[in-house]
Symmetry: C2
DNA sequence: TTTCAACTCCCCCAAAATAGTGAGGGGCGG
DNA sequence: CCGCCCCTCACTATTTTGGGGGAGTTGAAA
């Protein structure tokens, strides 16, 4: 069976799987198929839930979360602001925190080369699909060039499957805001005070307050700032 | 030249293009290549800016925007909440508004079948890549099954290119926030009050205020909510 | 038809955030 | 060494929000 066919069959198996474990199985198979040191899929959503699967050593994963490297890792920060898949070499590793992180990662066998595909879903969901390896630059360039397309599609399939299992799907939480509520949230997000928003929308401030409060309620937010943050990260408003 | 090769060459040309017009040219070529009635790429994001290119008739496009169909179109509302590409048949066309919209769309030659790929970028950017055609269900099922993968990749390439031209790259991309400022913004974004944030960070509320104000200053924000919104949309904090 | 969600308006008062001033110590690069 | 940024703390006064009440209209869906 050729590589294409095997890749195809792994993805088909993944697509028809009923359990989250299938992701872990599929990623191991794909890692072997591509002959890379590691392959990892990882997502975070607006409420801080996360899920990951992959072939990194348990020690490294534990270390990563316990050190809160999510906020340091240049792969995360870099990909969060980009759309296209990115080679780790092109990220900013200049800060001291990044350098120590990098050193530690390599010590844990992560590999000196990496390629990460950022993927975004509804409600501010953000995921990364990463392949890492230990080799020289030329070999890696050849690898990424050859497999770029496939990796994007695989990332897509993984995220698709992962979203099926996402617990945060209650209709209560993802209920859309009404048009006026969207207006209110949007204007608040661009810095208007309640008075200014009310003026802009040509309604009384009292009325505006009703919208803000109902939006807050729908979003399960504790205050206006929280409501705006949630509305943004869930993609309900565009700022 | 086979279909694969032509597709490849169109995408390569697109990738190396320096002007936005290239998107329009590429989409026309791809439409012809796939033998579909229409192909459209369209994105919305910051400040309500939008850009679209495609092969719909100018009358239909004008009608669409003037009627504000963006808020009615089941393709938009449906895809906005999904991740995977979707066949138009699987969307909810039951509301009255949707039915009249559908009728009008078909009258404008949009086609009775459609397949749309939602794509999301940083900062809440949302784009749709759509192929539409006039044919029976079986023919369309075969078409989408055959080209699904390619359409996802094409959507990805289009969005990648479109983002290059996005004007939303403010020159005064002020210096990054300090660690404490990031802490403050992050906790505020998850709904903590100033008192709670100060408590969490084990500093006085007075000190916290200094961070919030300096963050506000750096971000050019008018108030805390605005600052958090900007920090989020610039990817400075991860919530 | 009835119900329900959205939109609009009003009061009062307590709590929280903002604005205007400060000040001092630590670290890092030119 | 000096400037610059980061971290830490304090006071007072004013403005803005939040929480608790209600109440009426419209339009669309069940």
């Amino acid at each position: 069976m050729g590589m294409k066919q095997r890749q195809e069959s792994i993805l088909e198996e993944l697509a028809s799987a009923q359990e989250l474990d299938a992701l872990q199985a599929a990623i191991e198979n794909l890692r072997d198929l591509f002959g890379a040191d590691h392959m990892v899929y990882h997502w975070v959503n607006a409420d801080g839930d996360q899920y990951g699967c992959g072939t990194y050593s348990p020690e490294w994963v534990e270390n990563y979360v316990s050190q809160d490297y999510l906020r340091v890792d240049p792969v995360i920060v870099g990909c969060y602001q980009r759309f296209h898949p990115v080679d780790w070499k092109r990220l900013d590793w200049s800060s001291k925190a990044a350098r120590t992180f990098q050193k530690e990662a390599i010590e844990h066998g992560v590999g000196n080369q990496g390629f990460s595909v950022p993927i975004r879903g509804p409600n501010g969901q953000f995921a990364l699909f990463t392949v890492s390896h230990n080799c020289d630059d030329d070999t890696w360039a050849e690898f990424t060039e050859k497999h770029r397309r496939d990796l994007i599609l695989i990332a897509h399939e993984f995220n698709n499957k992962a979203l099926e299992f996402e617990p945060n799907r209650s209709p209560e939480q993802s209920r859309a805001l009404s048009p006026r509520e969207v207006d209110a949230m949007t204007l608040l997000a661009v810095g208007y005070s309640r008075a200014q928003v009310a003026d802009t929308l040509s309604i009384s401030e009292h009325t505006l307050r009703v919208y803000i409060e109902s939006a807050r309620f729908k979003l399960g937010a504790l205050n206006t700032t929280h409501a705006v943050a949630r509305a943004m990260s869930r993609g309900l408003i565009v700022v």
